[in-house]
């Protein structure tokens, strides 16, 4: 997994042993998207300009909403949406905050697999306090990561 983090954007990529069509379906089918992302989406499809909504399914975070506005959909190549970073609290009004843009792109790898790149950009417009909030609200991601690292270092 490659990592390059400036102050405005996050970029990560991962290679998968699966054809592009398969990875695309896992992204573009909202049911499949929800299974790996950890969200139950009420919207049947990603359609440019339209909202996709649902609730987070990670245990302990079910009170958080997933809410994204689809930007571009290019079959088997690109899916992007605007959102407020990570699960949002229904008690908080985010309308005055700039969203970030999440872009997934797919490309073939030499060995017949697929490289998926995700770029989330626009963080410079997100207040620092809100970035902390995004971190705090999604400590679920930390759980998994901490487990991996703990095993790696033999704790």
């Amino acid at each position: 997994m490659n990592a390059s983090t400036g102050t405005d954007r996050i970029e990560r990529s991962i290679d998968m042993k699966a054809p592009r069509a398969r990875v695309w379906r896992a992204l573009a089918d909202t049911g499949e998207f929800g299974r790996w992302f950890g969200v139950s989406l009420a919207t049947p499809a990603f359609v440019p300009g339209e909202w996709v909504r649902g609730h987070i399914t990670h245990p302990g975070y079910e009170h958080l909403q997933f809410e994204a506005r689809v930007h571009r959909v290019e079959a088997e190549r690109l899916l992007s949406f605007h959102w407020h970073p990570y699960g949002i609290d229904p008690e908080v009004d985010y309308t005055q905050e700039e969203p970030t843009l999440v872009t997934f792109t797919l490309e073939d790898t030499a060995d017949g697999g697929t490289r998926l790149r995700v770029v989330e950009s626009g963080f410079d417009k997100v207040p620092a306090a809100r970035r902390e909030e995004a971190f705090r609200m999604n400590s679920q991601g930390w759980d998994a990561q901490v487990g991996n690292i703990a095993r790696h270092v033999g704790v």
């Binding site: 290679d15 379906r25 992204l27 970035r131 971190f135 901490v146 790696h152």
Partner: protein, 119 residues
């Protein structure tokens, strides 16, 4: 592991931080303190499901890892997040990046699991 996957250089200090966080109760305490402010043992105890003694013990581990600090407020001891560890924007961006890594890892497992089982 694909060739593009990089493992971070071993960093004992980082490992200590992750080890400290690698417990659900301590992660919960850090999460509570991330919201800001100075919290007493009583406040932290009431927000978790374990005893006061348990909270005290876990705070000691977090203190050793440099993740929290204690402040005397009159005769009371209050706890706060140690901002230089977690608090700046860069770190939170890194954290969000790690969340993406975890999500992409789940996606990889999902699509490599073989035939589509979702029906």
């Amino acid at each position: 592991m694909s060739a593009s996957r990089k493992t971070p250089a071993p960093d004992a200090r980082l490992a200590e931080v992750f080890a400290a966080l690698g417990d659900p109760v301590r992660l919960r305490l850090v999460t509570l303190l991330c919201a800001g402010g100075l919290l007493s043992i009583a406040q932290l105890t009431s927000a978790t499901s374990i005893s006061r003694q348990g909270v005290t013990k876990h705070l000691a581990v977090l203190l050793d890892a440099g993740l929290v600090r204690d402040v005397k407020l009159g005769r009371e001891r209050r706890w706060q997040l140690a901002p230089e560890r977690i608090d700046d924007a860069r770190r939170s961006l890194d954290a969000i990046g790690r969340q993406w890594e975890a999500a992409l890892g789940r996606l990889k497992e999902f699509v490599e699991a073989g035939p589509d089982l979702s029906g």
